[in-house]
């Protein structure tokens, strides 16, 4: 029979709409004020931390809604912002400097809904407030550093194999090694060829020169490594901020995008990203009296520093080596399975260190961790005051003369060794990074944007609803149902897709989808009217109307979808936000406007003898 939907089709429509509504529902619950406690420098929050936090809060009678351990962080939800702030202050004070305590807004989605993957839509910076940075990695610097390292390596290699050379210098085409005779040149070439497969070696027997240059492949790898290293460092630093959904992502060949939604203290965010950490090696002052020093009588050439547990050490002021000379650092285990940090120095650093350690064999040397952290204070010029934090991380006895590569132990856990290695590399970044773009949206503006966008959507919907109802009467109501379902589906899909973020242009995209989704119904309804005018029966007109309009709708929507997908692929920022909702909107509106309305129309009007239609 004409215009009867099979049961499965009606059920499918019902199911899809219900499913969409279910996953759209987390957006109704809003967010809880929360405090997030996360470990610093490799310490992870664990069950003990959780108990500690709970005990602290209960002791001070601060009312909280729930407390949980999630992904190595303790999350405490509160009923109101007042107790949230109190809780933050209390925890910040008592947990010491091994944990960072950050304010946070956490979705208040009920547990059963969260268990089936229900999450609210992510809001873009323009809607949630927050800050976004675009950082550029200085690739030239990365290449220069790599070349400098190569010069040193070559010298060592040639010396090690006792091949005599006149000089190793950076030249226009690469690194030039000058020899005295052809035999040395040939020996050196075969040696270097064996050791560096990714270098291009060109020899010239007339000038007795060997030129080594980086292949395209090697250059690419160097750049890639610099970018990856910077991303890792920034991720680590961002974690300290306790942002709910931070984004650190590479963009193109040399840029890194960092988005911190909901961050209100942007100055602090910037400072943490720009923070520098490094290490210094200093000799322990063994002659000075520690007890005297603790009483305030520190020898002039020494100073008193503490380690993490508060144990004091008296150190010489003179620095043997700074972190600038570190070209690489990694973590591993020593023969007793203790975590250790392997450090590689550049050539000047290597010879400096070698000289410094030569005369101090058998004496204790300390590794000092130095970090510049921003404080809340401002100097008279309005600039943030940085606090220099110095911490002794290890004291080791120098066993032998140390050269270009060596290792330090005493870093604690493996995670800590790993993090220290990371920070060491960061302390002497292979390639410096620089903020090239910054966008900050104040929280009030964000909230205002949400409100305005929501109002615009509601008003647009309302106007279209009224118009359709007047113009198409009963069929207008069906179209309106489809529009409502469409909105629910867009929100549902946006909430389900992990990468989708709602932005202000995205809201505009939804509004536009509404305007255009109506088009599908207009096409169908006009076609039905046309068919009826030509004298077709009601059922036939409905059937023909849907049939004839379908190919038009398909063509029009597919072309728009192509445009939207290209925008998504090529665009950034607002264009991408717009493209996301537009593409989703096109697909959902096709479904609701064509399949959805057909089901309703069939259920209400289908299979009956009708003389007239309310259209």
């Amino acid at each position: 029979m004409l215009n009867k939907s099979p049961l499965w089709k009606s059920l499918l429509v019902l199911f899809v709409v219900a499913f969409g509504a279910l996953y759209a529902s987390p957006n109704l619950y809003g967010e809880d004020p929360a405090v997030q406690v996360s470990g610093l420098r490799g310490v992870e929050a664990d069950a003990a931390t959780l108990d500690n936090v709970r005990a602290q809060l209960e002791q001070d009678k601060i009312d909280f809604a729930s407390i949980a351990l999630e992904k190595g962080q303790v999350l405490v939800r509160f009923h109101d912002t007042e107790s949230q702030l109190k809780g933050r202050d209390l925890l910040d004070e008592n947990l010491g400097n091994q944990f960072s305590v950050a304010l946070n807004l956490t979705p208040a989605t009920p547990e059963w809904l969260a268990d089936i993957g229900g999450t609210p839509m992510k809001l873009g910076l323009d809607l949630s407030g927050g800050v976004s940075f675009l950082m550029e990695v200085n690739m030239n610097e990365a290449i220069i550093k790599a070349k400098e390292a190569m010069v040193g390596d070559f010298r060592n290699d040639l010396r090690g194999e006792k091949i005599r050379y006149r000089s190793v210098k950076e030249g226009a085409k690469g690194i030039n090694i000058q020899f005295r005779n052809v035999e040395d040149l040939a020996k050196a070439k075969s040696l270097l060829k064996k050791r560096y497969r990714d270098l291009l070696l060109v020899d010239n027997e007339d000038t007795l020169m060997l030129t080594a240059s980086m292949t395209e492949q090697k250059l690419k790898e160097t750049r890639e490594y610099a970018l990856q290293q910077n991303i890792t460092i920034i991720r680590n630093r961002v974690n300290e901020l306790g942002v709910a959904e931070p984004l650190v992502q590479r963009q193109g060949q040399k840029h890194i995008v960092i988005e911190l939604p909901g961050v209100q203290d942007t100055a602090r965010a910037k400072e943490i990203l720009n923070a520098t950490a490094t290490i210094e090696f200093r000799m322990v002052d063994t002659e000075g009296d520690l007890a005297n020093a603790l009483n305030g009588r520190v020898p002039g050439s020494s100073e008193l520093l503490y380690d993490r547990d508060g144990k004091p050490t008296l150190l010489k002021k003179r620095v043997m080596l700074t972190g600038d000379h570190i070209v690489d650092a990694g973590s591993s285990f020593d023969e007793y399975s203790r975590p250790q940090v392997n450090i590689t120095l550049d050539s000047p650093g290597g010879s400096k260190f070698s000289n410094a350690t030569k005369n101090n064999i058998g004496k204790p040397m300390a590794t000092v961790f130095i970090e510049y952290k921003a404080t809340d204070k401002l100097d008279p010029q309005g600039n943030t005051v940085f606090e220099k934090i110095e911490e002794v991380i290890s004291v080791a006895t120098i066993q032998a003369r140390l050269g270009k590569s060596f290792r330090i132990t005493g870093a604690g856990s493996q995670a800590e060794a790993h993090n220290l290695a990371l920070l060491l590399r960061a302390g002497a970044l292979i390639a410096p990074i620089q903020i090239v773009e910054e966008r900050t949206v104040g929280p009030t503006l964000g909230a205002e944007n949400v409100q305005l966008g929501f109002q615009a959507i509601m008003m647009g919907f309302g106007l279209v609803f009224i118009f359709m109802m007047i113009y198409y009467r009963a069929f207008g109501v069906v179209a309106n149902l489809a529009l409502g379902a469409n909105l629910v589906l867009i929100v549902g899909v946006m909430s389900m897709i992990p990468g989708a973020t709602l932005t202000l242009p995205g809201m505009a995209g939804i509004v536009l989808t509404v305007g255009m989704a109506v088009d599908a119904n207009v096409l169908i309804f006009e076609r039905i009217r046309e068919e009826m005018r030509q004298g077709k029966s009601v059922q036939q007109a409905i059937h023909q109307g849907y049939d004839a309009a379908f190919s038009t709708i398909l063509d029009a929507n597919i072309t728009t979808l192509i445009a939207a997908l290209i925008l998504f692929a090529v665009g950034t920022g607002p264009i991408k936000g717009f493209a996301v909702t537009l593409s989703i909107g096109i697909v959902t509106s096709m479904f609701t406007a064509v399949v959805g309305t057909r089901t309703v129309v069939n259920a209400v009007w289908g299979g009956k003898r009708l003389e007239k239609l309310s259209i």
Partner: protein, 315 residues
């Protein structure tokens, strides 16, 4: 209820020469405007710093300008933004000061000399190189979109329709850009998004019309191409109107209620919907006609299709 009820076929194509001259004049004016007045590119494209602040009471623009001038920010553009209490300040890129400091500097100057309680709403700074990349990317996005559309329409319909619709798109984009140059409105990333939406909308319209023309070429035996196009346009006219009305309603909501941030977006689209509707009739169809679209181009499929339809209609 019905707005349009046309008994007679409207002879749209009779005016196509007038329309063509009209369109060409408009396009030439748009091009000259773009060359002479140029687009007022926003921060996204030029690089520089933008600061949006909210005052507690109505902001005194003259005073803000003076304060900025006396502090060495003579190039600052100060504008009200959305309400009398919100202002934006745009500063060009400068070489001696790091961009990241600039925004904070201006903010603290304002806080010291005008109103302590001004609230930072938005700071953006964009490097010039980033802007350059964006201009390239934006152009690339448009070009790729146009080519893909051309290919799809040529594949689904016919090359004359494809060319017609792409000429129509080009026409719409050009006129919208021309309007922005004429009124000196700021052209930022959201406007670019709107232009792309105009492409989407205009395309939607063009496809609907082309689809009907194709259908009628196959169905109607008598009458020349111009007449078939006229019949098709008349048949789709009421749909064109209603869709434009609903879209305009929604856009009006955006324009008046959406806030300052998407004002440019709404303006571009409002205008785009008008030109888009016009161009699907007088540019896309007229170009296809001028290129000599005829029954024969679409007829081979007809017999097959008609047979199929008959079968389908049998109960």
């Amino acid at each position: 209820m019905q707005i349009l009820r046309l008994k007679e076929t409207v002879n749209f194509m009779a005016f196509r020469k007038v329309a063509m001259v009209f369109s060409i004049v408009l396009m030439i004016s748009a091009i000259s405007l773009l060359m002479v007045k140029k687009l007022n590119f926003g921060l996204d494209f030029t690089g520089g710093t933008l600061i949006e602040v909210g005052f507690e009471e109505a902001a005194d623009l003259t005073k803000i300008r003076q304060v900025l001038d006396s502090n060495g920010f003579e190039d600052g553009v100060v504008q009200l933004y959305g309400s009398s209490r919100d202002i934006v300040i745009r500063l060009a890129q400068r070489e001696d000061v790091k961009a990241e400091m600039l925004g904070n500097q201006v903010l603290s100057i304002l806080q010291q000399s005008t109103d302590k309680n001004i609230d930072m709403r938005r700071i953006e700074f964009v490097g010039a190189s980033v802007g350059e990349e964006l201009t390239e990317q934006g152009g690339l996005a448009m070009l790729t979109a146009l080519i893909c559309i051309l290919v799809y329409v040529a594949f689904r319909f016919e090359w004359r329709f494809a060319l017609g619709s792409v000429v129509a798109l080009f026409h719409d984009v050009l006129l919208t850009l021309g309007l922005f140059a004429l009124l000196g409105l700021e052209f930022d990333l959201t406007v670019l998004a709107a232009i792309l939406a105009v492409i989407g909308y205009s395309l939607n319209d063009t496809i609907v019309v082309s689809d009907r023309i194709r259908e009628n070429f196959r169905k109607i035996r008598e009458g020349g191409p111009a007449e078939v196009i006229n019949i098709s346009l008349t048949q789709t006219l009421s749909r064109t109107f209603i869709t434009s009305i609903t879209t305009l309603l929604v856009l009006a909501a955006l324009f008046f209620k959406g806030g300052a941030l998407i004002h440019g977006f709404a303006t571009a689209l409002l205008f785009g919907v008008f030109v888009g509707t016009y161009s699907s009739i007088y540019v896309a169809s007229a170009v296809a006609l001028a290129l000599g679209i005829s029954k024969e181009d679409l007829i081979p499929e007809v017999i097959e299709k008609e047979g199929a339809e008959q079968e389908q209609m049998m109960p």
